[in-house]
Amino acid sequence: MVSRILIANRGEIALRILRACRTLGIEAVVAYSEADRESLPAMLADEAICIGPADARRSYLSAPALISAALVTGCDAVHPGYGFLSEDDAFADAVRAHGLTFIGPPADVLDKFASKAEVRRLLATHGLPTVPGSGLLADEEQALAEAARVGYPVLLKPSAGGGGKGMRMVRSPRELAAVLPICRSEARAAFGDDSLYLEKWLEDNRHVEIQVAVDKYGHGVHLWERDCSIQRRHQKILEESPSPAMSAAGRKELAERAIKAVVAAGYENVGTLEFLVDSEGNAYFIEINCRIQVEHPVTEMLTGIDLVATQIRIASGEPLGFAQEDVPQRGHAIEFRINAEDPAHDFRPGAGTIERFNAPGGPGVRFDSHAYVGYEVPPYYDSLLGKLIVWAPTREGAIARGRAALSELIVDGVTTNVAIHRALLQSEPFLSGKFTTNLLDRVGGAAFLAAAERPG
């Protein structure tokens, strides 16, 4: 097992990794940018080291700074968290070249699974259905031809992307031509890679993902699904499990196909296979995330399995240590992403100092957050301030707990999206479980909030 990990990330996930390290008896060093000097993970870590200025390109996205920090602080491993360099095979390779363990898939596995377009082809050969789509788009001409082939509307996607960033839905050849160079430069800025591909846009779909864990010895299990259909602008804001849209037989079949395919394709470590599920219940594989997901606690609540600890153990070369029958899917869990953003004003991100703070608690409630009284939310990074996860034996119970917990949550000094969660817990489509990924974007955040306030 590794003995000292550099946490090459920030915010709630840095804290989450720190907790896994502590539980495993591993020392944790937090790498922080100047903007995160007063952050909770930096304060709670065994050691904290400043790696650069607020600008992520010179700190959390700087492979040399992170590796240098790991070496200077005597670490033997690096945990990349999510986002930033978490799925960068060159970073994973450099980490290994300096004698450090990368907590995630080995560089060659990351490399193999880095291109979304390639992965779709690979996993299709191992039995996963995929959305009709293109390979990498060399130029505008090819993009137009591919779009014509699969049929408009299409979704333009960065091959190196994640978290919904840089994706655009396009309805016509003219729009495609206009948007293509913009997407390319956004992809380059966000991921350092401007490769794009496109997929058929499935109207009224759901977003369901299967969590998997595979050790170095080819032993893999799935940890059931998460339904991430509640999104705004392609970004998830609420996730739950089990998916209210899937039958017991349907989820079991999909999960089993997924784990079989990724093991056969040579995947290693924890990962998530994302699917679109259409109104007839057909699932189409769209991408794999080779890292811990923001929404991993949903799965932890249902299975009792610590996914970050599992990730560290696998990367250290340990066998998985449990079998498929040891992975229950017990009760129902919902995660609410608490973002520093204003749902009434187009989800505009906010920053500021937290003046008062109260975290929800009690039975079946988990709140993963780096917030505290006096914390200054920096304006430089993503807006995720915390994750409220509730569990109960039934979906109805989890919804009731969610309402109760949201009523306890206090974050003063920074605008948050709590109102959108309250509105969701009053909205008929959510309560009935009959919703698709466009629930919020169809009307917009402000209109959705207003509708929730109307009686009846």
Binding site: R37, L40, A42, G52, P64, I67, T73, Y372, V373, G374
Partner: protein
């Protein structure tokens, strides 16, 4: 020792830019009379924090952590374990904020002007010039190895290298103060804090 005096560092509650400017001016005047009075009367004792309330106002006087004025080299020694805790009362910053890589010269009330040279990257410190060397702004004083590639520690002002704060082979973090320059010709310290990121 060149303490980092930050007179007039003002952190008001939510305000518009215009209001902030007004507060700034008002407080710059107040700071000159109030703060020395408080510090003088109470600074000698072992008092940590005092609060005085009257009507709708509360005045809280707080002494920072004992290590607030310590040097970067000291800081790096105990950086191995943060003891800082979150919360709003009391000194919750266990260490003084690091200076930007190119620190501005700051004057203590009467002495010479000192400026700290800081590590431009996280890495391994290698000394260069010796104490007593004359330098010009931008001169290489030492280097920090970033995965074997040396990065210059530049002199922030013209002057004389009076102290090197890190040892050869030390790991240093980004922004850590690694050397002190005594400026050749002290300039008047700015009356108000300079704007962020410029100058």
């Amino acid at each position: 020792m060149p303490a980092t005096n930050r007179t007039g560092d003002i952190a008001p509650a939510e305000r518009t830019p215009a209001e902030r400017a007004a507060d700034h001016a008002a407080l710059a005047r107040l700071a000159d009379t109030l703060v020395p009075a408080l510090a003088g009367k109470l600074g000698a004792g072992s008092l940590g924090e005092i609060e005085i309330r009257e009507d709708g106002w509360a005045v809280r006087v707080r002494r920072s952590a004992p290590d607030a004025g310590r040097r970067a080299s000291d800081r790096s020694a105990d950086r191995a374990r943060h003891t800082g805790l979150p919360g709003h009362t009391g000194p919750h910053a266990p260490h003084a904020p690091a200076q930007a890589p190119v620190a501005e010269p700051v004057a203590s009330s009467d002495g010479p002007v000192h400026a700290a040279a800081t590590a431009p990257v996280v890495g391994v410190f290698r000394p260069g010039l010796s104490v007593g060397a004359r330098v010009r702004t931008g001169d290489r004083i030492a280097v920090v190895d970033l995965l074997g590639i040396p990065q210059d520690v530049a002199a922030p002002v013209d002057g004389v290298l009076v102290e090197v704060l890190a040892q050869a082979g030390d790991g240093v973090e980004y922004g850590q103060e690694v050397a002190v320059i005594e400026a050749a010709a002290p300039k008047a310290a700015p009356a108000a804090p300079s704007t962020d990121g410029e100058g």
